[in-house]
């Protein structure tokens, strides 16, 4: 008689151990219950997200430093970014977060078909976000907003009545650093979205193969935490990059 047979009835064994991914036992031996295992996995993801807070935090603090050193230059540069696509993308990610929350809601109820559909909707909205981001990057390219490669210094130096921004050459240096931070932060965020789409699609495939049940859906839940975090970062990127200055409709 194996330990497994001693601890679980055949009925429980079928529910807990069989038909699982890679024939791995559902309940790892170091845990007493599936609930404890679930809480531990979620805790691990929360700790990872805490390290991600510090990772993005250093970039946010850099924006804060440069904004305090050269407020006018940074605010002027901020108004040149595309607030419309930035705003629409915020809503796209918020809706994708709702889809993810509904997927986990369905997972708790054991409705695998709905979990699958909501996960696909989440990934599709993530993809829409990346497409809109791509359009925005193209428009930034057209408008000479790429320091070091496609950047028009004279446009920023020209006086305001001549269609420029009326900045000093020192200030244009800060404009370039701010734009560099814009590319770094949105680029790293887009990388996180890409990884998130991969994780969500993986969960969708596992769901369709019947790996989850109302008793065991921990990977879906943990993937959800990561996806919501990516949304959280964008919630803070919107005001710190796009909304620093005063917009007017003719700067669109």
């Amino acid at each position: 008689m194996t330990l497994k047979d001693a601890l679980f009835t055949p009925d429980e064994q079928e529910r807990l151990f069989d038909h699982t991914f890679l024939q791995r036992e559902l309940l790892e031996e170091q845990y007493a219950t599936l609930e404890q295992q679930h809480e531990t996995a979620a805790f691990g993801m929360w700790v990872f997200l805490a390290t991600e807070v510090m990772f993005f935090g250093t970039l946010f603090v850099t924006v804060a430093v440069y904004r305090s050193l050269a407020p006018q230059a940074v605010e002027t540069a901020s108004t040149h970014l595309n607030w419309l696509i930035g705003g629409i993308n915020t809503i796209v990610l918020l809706v994708s977060s709702l889809m993810m929350a509904l997927a986990i809601h369905s997972a708790k109820l054991g409705d695998q078909r709905r979990v699958y559909r909501f996960l696909l909707a989440t990934a599709a909205l993530g993809l829409l976000f990346l497409c809109l981001k791509g359009v925005e990057y193209y428009l930034d390219y057209v408008e000479y907003l790429i320091p070091g490669w496609r950047f028009d210094k004279d446009k920023w130096l020209a006086p305001k009545n001549a269609g420029g921004d009326g900045l000093s050459s020192d200030q244009v240096g800060f404009v370039q650093i701010f734009l560099l931070l814009y590319w770094t932060m949105t680029g790293l965020h887009a990388l996180h979205v890409t990884i998130g789409i991969g994780a969500v699609l993986t969960m969708a495939v596992l769901t369709s193969r019947g790996h989850f049940s109302a008793a065991y859906y921990t990977p879906v839940d943990v993937t959800g935490l990561y996806w919501h975090f990516v949304d959280l970062v964008w919630i803070f990127l919107l005001p710190t990059l796009y909304l620093l200055g005063t917009h007017s409709f003719h700067t669109l």
């Binding site: 997200l49 305090s68 607030w83 809601h105 109302a214 949304d231 959280l232 005001p239 909304l243």
Partner: protein
């Protein structure tokens, strides 16, 4: 597993509030505010939105205390990062730099 659940109605209401706050934060950026108020307003709204996402979408509201420890600690570390870094940069014009001291 008997986990407490947030209702679908609550999720949809939270999304509606989040979208409304997004529209509000973009609208505020069109108001001719004095320097510093835009980022103040933007970050205040962002903190409100982030709290909604963490509490309801990430269901922190039903999470064990150990999760709350991680949330509180990550905010605390972030505040240390910000306060110490900015304490340096924002006082450089007040405190003279003295090489060799």
């Amino acid at each position: 597993m008997a986990t407490p659940m947030v209702s679908v109605k609550t999720y949809v209401t939270v999304l509606a509030v989040l979208v409304a706050l997004t529209v509000l934060t973009v609208t505020v950026s069109f108001l001719p505010l004095a320097e510093g108020w835009h980022i103040g307003a933007g970050l205040t709204i962002a903190v409100a939105k982030a709290s909604l996402v963490v509490l309801f979408f990430m269901h922190a509201i039903h999470s064990p205390r150990v999760t709350w420890c991680v949330i509180v600690m990550s905010i605390a570390w972030l505040l240390i990062l910000f306060s110490l870094t900015l304490a340096d940069f924002m006082t450089r014009s007040i405190v003279p730099f003295m090489p060799g001291h």
